[in-house]
Structure formats: C-alpha cells, structure tokens
Symmetry: C2
Subunit: 136 residues, 2 copies
Amino acid sequence: MSDSSRRQFLAGAATLSAAAAVGTAQAGQICSDLPPVVHKVYFWLKNPTSTEDRDQLIAGLKTLGAISTVQGIHVGVPASTEQRDVVDNSYQVSELLLFANAADQDAYQIDPIHLKFVEQCSHLWSKVVVYDSIAV
Amino acid sequence: MSDSSRRQFLAGAATLSAAAAVGTAQAGQICSDLPPVVHKVYFWLKNPTSTEDRDQLIAGLKTLGAISTVQGIHVGVPASTEQRDVVDNSYQVSELLLFANAADQDAYQIDPIHLKFVEQCSHLWSKVVVYDSIAV
C-alpha cells in the first residue's frame, strides 16, 4: 500500500470507527493530537481580486497533500469571523501542513511535487509569509 | 458524557482503531480531514527572553483546549526548520485552534475560559497577530 493510500485508509478507518462509536460524529470533524510540526503559509496575490488566480493557487496547494511526509493539510481563505484589529485578513489564500518533525518539513521543501508547485504558481503571489511551529 | 470527555473518547477510539489497522501507526500521528475553520495566533512577548513569561503564556493557552467548541489545539514555539527570508520566526509562542465553523470561533472568543486566559495572560505580550481561515 502506498504512503498516500495508507494515509487515506487510516483517515477512513479512524473516521468510521469514531462515528460508529457515538453515532453522531461527522466525517472530517475528528482530529485528536495534531502532529507536532505545523507549517503555516499566507499568500497575497499579485492580482488580489482575480478569482482565477486564487483558484489556480488553491488547486496548486492541494497537490501538496500527496507529498509523503505531509500528515495533514488545510488550504483556506480568510474566514468570516468577527472583525478585530488584531486579525489580519488581508491575505487571499492560506496553507497549513502538518509534519512529524522539522526534518520532514525540510524534506517537503525539496520534494518534486513542491518544486513543481512553486514553478507553476509562484508567479501568482506578490508576498508570502511563513510561520513554522513545533508543539510544546 | 461531557463534550470534553466525548472528544477524548473520540480521539482514543480513532487512534486505537487506526493503529490496530496497520500495526505501525503512532498515537498522535493520525489526522484526517481537519475541521474547516483554523484560528491561528502568534504572540510576541513583552519580555522575549523570559522563559518564565513564555511558559506562563503556554500554560494559559493550553487551558483553551477545554472550551467546548474547540475541536483541536496546537500550542507551539518557532520550529528549527531551514531559515529562509520568507519565514517569520520572530514570535515567541503560537496557538492554533480548530473549529467546525466561524460561529463556533466567535463563541470561543466570549467563553469564560478564554476570557480568563486573556485576563491572566494579556499583560505578557506586546503584539499579537491573528489569521482565521476557512477551508476551500
């Protein structure tokens, strides 16, 4: 079983088991301990109002989930939470990837799938900010 | 069963089932579809070199996992990933919370546990930046 298939299988088994246990759990709503390393990226598009550019970037980011060291992925846009002065919602697209350790995140950076994403999508953004955090 | 107990039970059931399925899965390493709303916060301490202040903030942040609408939590510090000019590792502490929807994140903001955290810890930081994202 490939790493990708195994992850999908694991996800399915975990979701089904937990849903059966209580009968009310929703798929995709179960996330116990997160992997320790979180790679968080925010993108500002060169053309901030272009839904075409935004969607191309989103599609590109979603390919990153196939990289073997990626243990979880969330591709998003600013959420409609309450507006507060500490909230930065000026970016157009966000990416969140989960890793077992910092070395796996470093390996992800040079994975061919990631390099292809950068090659095909980096012309879309004018600014990118990255925060890498490890659990304490 | 309380919401908190149910979440712990769900987490345990999911982990055990998936681990049994392949025999090699590690606890805490399984995270299938993430809940759609991710609340990401970065803190810069007034006293950036004070491990006492940092640890007080970390302890305060960890209390937020008990809030009923929180579906996942990660409290971290900058990871030792490769240094690149797009990486901001100037913050001291990070927080990541997962929610089912934006309304649950709004409810979290006024939860007594969150208000107590702000009351007890807000003197520790000089700057905070928040990014709220919803899956696409």
